[in-house]
Every structure is written in structure tokens, then in C-alpha cells.
Subunit: 176 residues, 2 copies
């Protein structure tokens, strides 16, 4: 049940059966934009939310791993692809989803990929082939656009921004 | 109790009284190095772990806030100080603590501070007065050293690293 524990100032989920306070803090989503010889690896989601839409490999960070290890694990799980994590690309606040998304630049050493259990399809595409109208999340679009923009200029900037979880608002995304 | 939910691959805390799966993911600690006219605001911890040791204001990010808002809130709570969050300073993996620490550069517009409920003492100190032998955590020391090093060169780099939660190993910290 929800109550304010002694010495705290916010409501927490307290389970009197387990006798445990379950603090619920923002969750970290980790991912990378994996490149192989100029092409980008994308996956079509086999799970909700946004089933059927496209993203690069990303998912919830697990306990005991680093951000980089989590991003590489997601690439292996969703696209059966080994990736070298290069540099930090973007840190995105999604306060209405209680999430922070952390994305890296990545490189596929051999370019091999295959459909993992959470994907319907995986593809290595040229930037001109990216399905902008079928991108899963605002943070996915932000990371892809900043990735390509930085690649064009050789920048290795880290982009910090705040976005809504709301989907379908791509037209309102700031230009990178 | 701990069990592996259907479709998952890791043990999770499942409460059959509440009928809820409590996913436990890494927690985010947010903070900032607040500067006022060349001096740094530090707090002596009134709570465990590391009671009595020094840190800059930092703590667990809460649901519904951004990283920047969380860092400013912690500065207000721990040192009763209003801070302007400037740029991203460091992202630190602490896998053995199941945490990611995200620290910003900050500026105190008026330099006012006071002891908050989680602090024994707050001080604005010159870099030469920082109590290096009494710093609370490895990530605190890492952020302070990179902050001062960047300030000397005018760099606004974002530093990504992995540290242990283990305290008392300051001698092994890499030079910034």
C-alpha cells in the first residue's frame, strides 16, 4: 500500500506482507546507435509499447551492469549483434515516463545481425532509408537525428535534453 | 519472494499479497558541484553511509523530475542553497552499488547556504581547502577532481567512468 515511511517525505509502496519499502525511482533505458560501414542497425519492435515501430536496440538497464554493458546486451538480445560501444551520444530525461534514456554511438565489427525474441525484423539501412514516419519513440528520433548530424560534422558532443513519452509528436521535435 | 516471471529471464521480487512484480533496476544519484565566486559548496553528511564525511549535494533522483531538477532539489534540501544547473560534468557507473551517478556543474547565484536536515555542516571552500582525506565516496572525489581540472583548462567535457562503491580506496583513483 502507499504510505509515507518515517523520516521520508514522499509516498512509497510499503508491503506489510514482505515488510519491505519498495522505493520506485526513475528507470534507466540504455541503448546504442550501431553503425556498420555507414549503415545503421534498426529493429522493428515485437512488443508493446509501439509494436511494429522501428528503433535502435535499447531497453532497461539491469542491476550489476554498466551503462555500456547494458547497451551492448540489448543489441545482442534484440538484434543478435555484437557491438563495440564507442562514445556517449545522448542523455534524455523523460519525466512523464519516469525514465532517463542514455544512448551511445556503437560500431558493429562484423555487421552480422538477426531477429531477437523482442524484434519482428532487423535491418542495416542507409540513413536515407530510415523510416522516419515509423520511429518508435521521440527519444529514438532525437538520438538518430543527433547521431547523423554529429557524424556529418565529426562532432562527439553529448546531447542532454528533456522529451515527453508522448508518441506521434514527431513534427514538434526540435531540429538537431 | 524471488522468482522468474513468465517471459522474463531474471529473478524479480514478486509480492503475491500485492500481486505486483517489483522490478529492481539501477538507481540514479544526481548532484552538482556548486560554485560561487571560485569557491565550492560542500556538505558534511549527517546520515549513513559515510556519516561525517564531505560531499557536494547529491541524492536519489525522484520520479517525475529531470536530472537537472533533481540535482537542484538536492542542493536545496542538503544545503538550503538555490543553484543554477549549468552543464553535464560526469556520468559514473557504480555497478556494485547498482547505481549510476550523474553530476552537473552548478553556480550559486547568491552564495547563500545553510545546514539542511541531512547535513551536519555546509561550507563554501577554496579548492585548496577541500578535505581530500574526508571525502564521502569515490564518485565524489572523481567529480571534484574533474571539475577543478576542467575549470583550469576551460573544458566542458562530459566524463564517463566506472568506479567501485568501495570507500577508502582514494589512493587508487586515476588522476583526472
Amino acid at each position: 500500500m502507499l504510505e509515507i515511511p518515517a523520516g521520508d517525505h514522499l509516498e512509497r509502496r510499503v508491503c506489510h506482507a514482505c515488510n519491505v519499502i519498495h522505493y520506485e525511482n526513475p528507470r534507466i533505458v540504455v541503448g546504442c546507435v550501431p553503425e556498420h560501414e555507414g549503415r545503421i542497425l534498426i529493429c522493428r519492435r515485437a512488443i508493446e509499447p509501439r509494436l511494429g515501430y522501428w528503433t535502435f536496440p535499447a531497453g532497461f538497464m539491469e542491476n550489476g551492469e554498466t551503462l555500456e554493458a547494458g547497451a551492448a546486451r540489448e543489441c545482442l538480445e534484440e538484434a543478435c549483434a555484437r557491438v563495440d560501444i564507442l562514445s556517449l551520444l545522448a542523455v534524455v530525461n523523460i519525466p512523464d515516463a519516469r525514465q532517463v534514456h542514455v544512448f551511445f554511438r556503437g560500431r558493429l565489427p562484423d555487421g552480422r545481425h538477426a531477429v531477437g525474441p523482442e524484434s519482428l525484423e532487423t535491418r542495416l539501412v542507409e540513413p536515407s532509408e530510415l523510416p522516419w514516419d515509423e520511429i518508435a519513440f521521440p527519444s529514438t528520433e532525437f538520438a538518430l537525428r543527433t547521431y547523423l548530424s554529429d557524424r556529418a560534422t565529426g562532432s562527439r558532443e553529448v546531447h542532454l535534453t528533456t522529451l515527453s513519452r508522448r508518441i506521434g509528436g514527431h513534427g514538434k521535435m526540435p531540429a538537431p
